[in-house]
C-alpha cells in the first residue's frame, strides 16, 4: 500500500486517492476553433512515458483537493507533488 503525499494532508494510503490522468492538459480556450483532429487529440490522446510523468490526483477520501504529482512510471515513486497552478518542479 503505497503512500501518496497530499500537499495539504501529508502522506496517506493510496486508496484515499483518485487518479486523474495526465496533468497540464488544459481545456482548449476555443473548442469550436479546433479541427476534428485537434479536438480528438485533446479528448483521446495522452502521453504514456517510461519514467517521470506529471499526473493529476485527487485526495478523494480526504480533503477532496486536486493536485499534481510527478511519478516515475517505472518505480511508482512520487518524485514531487504540487498544487494546481504551480509550475511542475524539476525532478531528477
Amino acid at each position: 500500500m503505497q503512500l501518496i503525499p497530499c500537499p495539504w494532508c501529508g502522506p496517506r494510503e493510496e486508496v484515499e486517492f483518485h487518479y486523474g490522468g495526465q496533468a497540464h492538459v488544459d481545456y482548449p480556450a476555443e473548442p469550436a476553433a479546433l479541427s476534428d483532429e485537434e479536438w480528438a487529440k485533446f479528448v483521446f490522446f495522452r502521453d504514456n512515458p517510461r519514467g517521470p510523468f506529471a499526473e493529476r490526483w485527487s485526495h478523494a477520501a480526504g480533503c477532496r483537493r486536486w493536485f499534481n504529482a510527478v511519478r516515475d512510471t517505472r518505480s511508482y515513486e512520487l518524485l514531487a507533488v504540487y498544487r494546481p497552478g504551480q509550475e511542475r518542479p524539476v525532478t531528477t
Binding site: 500500500m1 486523474g20 481545456y27 473548442p31 485533446f42 479528448v43 478523494a60 497552478g85
Partner: protein
C-alpha cells in the same frame, strides 16, 4: 508405538504434558511445545505421504517453513488443507492426514474469526533470532517505537535449535533478558507466531499472526484466529535467518533423509532424535555440529562424508573422539529403502572405491541460503556469493537493512553485532539518537575452520531419480531437458519444469536449480539473474486476507432514513451501488410482476409514493454558479428563474451522456442539483475537478447534501389532495404551484421543500425534508393518503412508469457511448451557448453518422412476450448462422399495466428512421417479432402531469 525417539532429557517441550493426536489414522502422543513434525518424529514416523507425480514415499525433511514434503491436511477441529507439519503446533485432539500435493477445501463456512490491525513504528524488526533481538533492543533503548515480529512460538530464532552459549551461559538467558527488557520498554510491540509475508513500498509490511491455532479445540471463538498486521515502518530490519539447502543425489528423497540443521533443531528444541543410526553428508562445517551433538546425545553416527578434500581439523578431531569416521572428499551416490532409508551408497567424489553404510537416517547440508525474500520484494538486488553458493543482499536500501544470517553472516557473535549495527542505523535514519553502544555478548560457537564448498549435486548417478524440487517431483533430468531444449533464463526453466512453483515456493530447491542450470550452461552464476521473490513468503489463508469483510460487513450497505419502514412492510430490495433500495412491496401471495402492476396502477390512477432519498443532491453556491452550470449541462441553466426547476443532461468531453437530473434555482447565486443514485459521488467529483483544475476563477462552492434530505415523490392524480391535507397553508393548485417549480412549505408540521417534478408523467410532488424527519413525513403521508388508497412503490415500478413515458435511465439505457441526440434529446442541447462540456464533440464526424444507435421503443408482436434486456435486435425472422448483423439491443423491458401489454426501450441503428419497421429480438434460441415505435408510449400529449 510409544514415543521411542524422544530423548530422556532436553528440549523445550513440556514433559509433564500429554497430548493425543491422530495422523493418517494412527493415534499418537506428543507434548506441548511440539510441532506436528516433531511429535511424529518422536513417534518414529518419518513418512507423511507420497509424492505428487511419482507416488514415492516422502518424509519430513526440514524443521520450518522451508519443508518441501510434509504437507498435511488438518481434519479436526476444522478442515484446513496444505499446511506443513513442521509449522503446525501440536494440540490435544489434533487430527491430521498427510497430503500428496493436493488438499481439500472445507465444504462448510469457516466459523473462525479473522481480523486485521494497523501498526505504526519507527523500526520494524523481522525475526527474533540473535540479530533481530539485538536490533530490536538497540532501537527500543533509543526511544523508537519498535515492532518485532517472529514466526515462531517463542523468540530466539536459530538459538532454539542449538546449544550455543553466550557469555558462558546458555543463550536462553540472553534471550530471556532481552525479551524482558523489550516487554517492559514502552513503545515496543512484540508479536510471536507472526510471519512477515510481504514487504512493499513506503515501509509497508504485511504479517500474518496465528493467534489461536496452537490452542486447538480450546481456541476462544471471540478471538480472531488469524490477524493480518498492516505495519507501516519508517525503517525495517530484516533478520529473517537462513534456510539450509540440500545436495542433490540419486534417490535423495527417501523418508529418513533430512537437512542437518533440522536434526539439530529436533534434538535441541524438541528433545527428539531423528533416527537410530545416522550418516552425515556435507560440503561445509555446519553439519559437523549436527554429527557431534547427536553423537553426544548417544545416537550412533558412524560416518560423516565431506565432499571437500580439505576438512576442518578441529571438528574432524571432535568427530573422531566420538567415533564418527570423517571421509574427506566423499559423497553420497545413492540410497536404498522404501518407506524408510536403509542404506547409503558412498564413494569418493569423482569416482573410486564405493561402499555402503547401513543407516536409517541421512543428514545433508549443501550450505545455507539467506532468507532474502523480503529484501528482494522491496526491490533490493541480490548478489551471488560464490564462497557460500548463496544469494545475499546486494547494495543496501534506504529504508531497509539486513542483519545476521539473512545477510549471509553465519557466525553468532557477528550476527549479534550486525543486529546492533542495523538497529543503530535504523533509529538514526528514523530520526533518533542511538542509545549507547550495547555490549556484544560473546558466543562460544566454534568458528568456521575450512571454507565451504559449493556442490549442487553429485554427478554420475541416476539423474531421473535425483530430485531438485521434491514438492513438484522435478529431477535433474528435467532440468537437463529444459536447458537441452534451449532454455537459458532461470525464469523460463522455472516455468518449463515448475521448479519453485509449489507451496514451498522453492525454498530448498530454488538456489540449487539456479546452480544446476548455470552448471549445465557452463555459465557463471554471478552473472546470471536470480528469479524474483514475490509475496507472500509463506502461504496466507484467503480467510485471513478477507478478515472481517464477510457477511453483513462484506461491503457497506447504505440505507436511507426510511429503511426500517420498508423492511417492516416486507419490501423486496435491490442493490443500486451500495444502496439498498425497496424494489417493490409484495402483498400476501404477490410475486414481483403482480406487485408492480398494482403499484403502477396506483400511481396512474390514485396516489403512490416512493423513497427517492438515494438521489444525489449537490448544493451549489456562488456568484458564478449559473456560469458553471452552463458549462456542466448541455442545456442553458443561467436563464432558469428563481423558483423554477429544469431537467438537465451532463456529458463528458467526448459528448457522451454521463448523468442527468434536475437543477433547482433557490436564489440567483444558489442552486440545488440532483444526480442519479449511482453517480452522486462521481458528479460531485466531476464538478470539483473542473472547478479546481480548470476554472478556479469561478466563484462557486459545491457541497454534497445527499443524506441531509429525505426525498419522497408523491405521485398520481390524487397526490394533490393528499398534499393539500397535510399542507393546509400551501396553495397546491396548478396555477399557484405549476409544473417544474418549487416551494417551501410545512408538510405535516415539518419544514419541507416541495418540487413539481415528475418522473412518471403523472401529477407529482417531490417532497424533501431534513432526514431526521423523514420517517415522520412518510408516516404522515401514508396516513393522509389512506382514504385514497395510497400505495408505496419501489424502484421496479418507478422504472416501468418512466419507461412508459420514454424517459431513459443513465447507465441502463445508456452505456457511455450514447449522446443526448442519440436519446432523442436534442431539445436539451443548447444551440445558443458558445461552449459547454461535450459540445465540440457533437460535431465530430463519428457523432453525426446517420446510422448511430438511437433510443426507440419496441412493441412485441405478441403483447404478452417480455423481451430480455440485452437481447439483440436483428433483421432476420429466424436465427441465421453467425455472423449475424446486430442492429442494437434492448435496454429496458417491462409489462405495462397502463398499456395492457409488454414493451421495451432499445438502442437501434438509425432507430428513428426505422419507426414502424418490423424487426426481431433474440430470446433464448428464438427470435421475437417487434415493431419499432417512438419512445413515448403513454400519454403522448402530456395531459396528465398537471392532474
Amino acid at each position: 508405538m510409544t514415543a521411542d525417539f524422544r530423548l530422556p532429557a532436553g528440549g523445550r517441550i513440556d514433559r509433564d504434558s500429554a497430548l493425543r493426536f491422530s495422523f493418517n489414522g494412527r493415534s499418537l502422543a506428543g507434548r506441548t511445545g511440539d510441532t506436528l513434525a516433531s511429535a511424529l518424529l518422536a513417534n518414529g514416523v518419518h513418512q507423511t505421504g507420497t509424492s505428487i507425480k511419482y507416488g514415492r514415499p516422502r518424509g519430513i525433511m526440514a524443521a520450518g517453513v522451508e519443508e518441501p514434503n510434509a504437507l498435511v491436511q488438518i481434519a479436526e477441529p476444522f478442515t484446513e488443507p496444505m499446511l506443513t507439519a513442521t509449522t503446525v503446533e501440536l494440540y490435544d485432539g489434533l487430527v491430521a492426514d498427510g497430503l500428496s500435493g493436493y488438499g481439500v477445501l472445507a465444504a462448510e463456512p469457516d466459523p473462525s474469526r479473522y481480523d486485521a490491525k494497523h501498526a505504526h513504528c519507527d523500526v520494524l524488526v523481522v525475526g527474533a533470532g540473535p540479530a533481530g533481538l539485538a536490533a530490536a533492543l538497540t532501537a527500543a533503548r533509543s526511544g523508537a517505537r519498535v515492532v518485532l515480529v517472529d514466526d515462531q512460538s517463542e523468540p530466539g530464532g536459530s538459538l532454539l535449535g542449538t546449544d550455543d552459549n553466550l557469555d558462558g551461559r546458555s543463550s536462553d538467558v540472553w534471550v530471556r533478558d532481552v525479551i524482558t527488557e523489550l516487554d517492559t520498554t514502552p513503545g515496543v510491540l512484540r508479536l510471536d507466531r507472526t510471519t512477515a509475508f510481504g514487504a512493499y513500498q513506503d515501509g509497508f509490511v504485511l504479517a500474518l499472526q496465528r493467534r489461536t491455532d496452537h490452542l486447538g479445540f480450546d481456541a476462544p471463538s471471540h478471538v480472531s484466529r488469524h490477524r493480518i498486521w498492516r505495519i507501516r515502518a519508517k525503517q525495517t530490519v530484516i533478520a529473517t535467518g537462513a534456510h539450509e539447502r540440500p545436495i542433490v543425489f540419486a534417490d535423495n528423497d527417501r523418508p529418513g533423509i533430512l537437512l542437518a540443521g533440522a536434526a539439530r533443531t529436533y534434538l535441541h528444541r524438541y528433545g527428539v532424535q531423528v533416527g537410530r543410526r545416522l550418516a552425515v553428508f556435507t560440503a561445509n562445517d555446519s553439519a559437523y555440529l549436527a554429527a557431534i551433538e547427536l553423537a553426544e546425545a548417544g545416537i550412533d553416527v558412524p560416518v560423516l562424508l565431506d565432499a571437500r578434500q580439505e576438512v576442518p581439523p578441529g571438528l574432524s578431531a571432535e568427530c573422531a573422539a566420538r567415533g564418527i569416521e570423517v571421509h574427506p572428499g566423499h559423497v553420497v551416490t545413492g540410497t536404498e529403502g522404501h518407506d524408510r532409508l536403509t542404506d547409503v551408497h558412498i564413494g569418493p567424489f569423482g569416482g573410486g572405491q564405493a561402499d555402503t553404510v547401513g543407516c536409517d537416517t541421512l543428514l545433508v547440508s549443501g550450505g545455507w541460503n539467506p532468507a532474502v525474500h523480503l529484501f528482494s520484494q522491496l526491490g533490493g538486488t541480490l548478489r551471488y556469493a560464490p564462497e557460500t553458493g548463496a544469494y545475499v543482499p546486494g547494495e543496501s536500501l534506504a529504508s531497509a537493512r539486513v542483519a545476521g544470517s539473512a545477510a549471509g553472516t553465519f557466525e553468532l557473535t557477528t550476527c549479534v553485532e550486525q543486529g546492533i549495527d542495523a538497529g543503530r542505523a535504523a533509529v538514526t535514519a528514523a530520526g533518533f539518537t542511538p542509545a549507547a553502544e550495547a555490549r556484544v555478548p560473546v558466543a562460544d560457537v566454534r568458528a568456521e575452520e575450512t571454507a565451504a564448498a559449493v556442490l549442487w549435486r553429485v554427478p554420475g548417478g541416476a539423474d531421473d531419480r535425483a530430485f531438485v524440487d521434491l514438492q513438484r517431483d522435478v529431477t535433474v533430468s528435467e532440468v537437463e531437458r529444459a536447458t537441452g531444449a534451449g532454455l537459458e533464463s532461470l525464469e523460463h526453466v522455472k516455468r518449463y519444469t515448475t521448479i519453485g512453483t509449489a507451496h514451498d515456493q522453492g525454498k530448498t530447491s530454488g538456489t540449487v536449480a539456479a546452480g544446476l542450470v548455470a552448471e549445465q550452461l557452463g555459465a557463471n552464476l554471478a552473472e546470471r539473474r536470480p528469479t524474483t521473490f514475490r509475496p507472500p513468503y509463506t502461504s496466507v489463508p484467503f480467510a485471513a486476507l478477507g478478515g472481517r469483510d464477510r457477511g453483513e460487513l462484506y461491503d457497506p450497505i447504505r440505507v436511507t432514513a426510511l429503511h426500517d419502514w420498508h423492511v417492516a412492510q416486507g419490501a423486496e430490495f435491490e442493490d443500486v451501488g451500495q444502496w439498498k433500495r425497496a424494489r417493490h412491496y409484495p402483498r400476501q401471495g404477490e410475486d414481483m410482476h403482480t406487485a408492480v402492476l398494482r403499484e403502477c396502477r396506483a400511481a396512474r390512477e390514485g396516489v403512490a409514493l416512493m423513497d427517492a432519498s438515494t438521489l444525489g443532491k449537490i448544493d451549489l453556491q456562488g456568484p458564478d454558479a449559473a456560469e458553471l452550470l452552463d458549462m456542466l449541462y448541455t442545456n442553458m441553466m443561467s436563464t432558469l428563474k428563481v423558483g423554477r426547476i429544469r431537467y438537465g443532461v451532463m456529458c463528458g468531453i467526448d459528448g457522451m451522456v454521463i448523468d442527468d437530473g434536475t437543477v433547482i434555482r433557490l436564489a440567483d447565486d444558489h442552486f440545488l442539483l440532483t444526480t442519479t443514485t449511482g453517480n452522486a459521488a462521481m458528479v460531485l467529483d466531476w464538478i470539483e475537478e473542473w472547478l479546481q483544475t480548470e476554472w478556479p476563477h469561478l466563484r462557486v462552492f459545491a457541497t454534497s447534501v445527499t443524506e441531509h434530505w429525505v426525498t419522497v415523490p408523491l405521485v398520481g392524480p390524487k397526490s394533490r389532495d393528499v398534499l393539500a391535507a397535510l399542507a393546509p397553508e400551501l396553495d397546491v393548485s396548478n396555477d399557484a404551484f405549476g409544473f417544474m417549480t418549487w416551494q417551501d412549505a410545512t408538510v405535516a408540521g415539518i419544514p419541507a421543500r416541495i418540487c413539481r417534478i415528475s418522473f412518471s408523467g403523472e401529477l407529482a410532488y417531490e417532497i424533501n425534508v431534513n432526514a431526521w424527519c423523514g420517517l415522520a413525513l412518510w408516516e404522515a403521508l401514508i396516513e393522509a393518503g389512506e382514504p385514497y388508497g395510497i400505495t408505496p412503490y419501489g424502484t421496479e415500478t418507478m422504472h416501468v412508469l418512466r419507461a412508459e413515458k420514454g424517459y431513459p435511465i443513465v447507465g441502463q439505457d445508456t452505456d457511455g457511448t450514447v449522446t443526448p441526440q442519440d436519446l432523442g434529446m436534442s431539445w436539451a442541447v443548447s444551440k445558443k451557448k458558445t461552449d459547454f462540456i461535450g459540445k465540440r464533440s457533437f460535431s465530430r464526424a463519428e457523432n453525426l453518422r446517420p446510422d448511430r444507435k438511437q433510443l426507440v421503443g419496441l412493441l412485441p408482436a405478441d403483447p404478452s412476450v417480455l423481451l430480455p434486456e440485452g437481447g439483440q435486435i436483428i433483421e432476420h425472422d429466424h436465427l441465421p448462422e453467425p455472423p449475424v448483423r446486430m442492429l442494437g439491443h434492448v435496454t429496458s423491458s417491462y409489462d405495462s399495466a397502463a398499456l395492457g401489454r409488454t414493451f421495451a426501450l432499445a438502442v437501434l441503428r438509425s432507430g428513428r428512421d426505422r419507426i414502424g419497421e418490423k424487426l426481431y429480438v433474440t430470446k433464448d434460441d428464438e427470435v421475437v417479432a417487434v415493431t419499432v415505435t417512438d419512445t413515448v408510449l403513454y400519454d403522448k400529449e402530456g395531459a396528465r402531469r398537471d392532474g
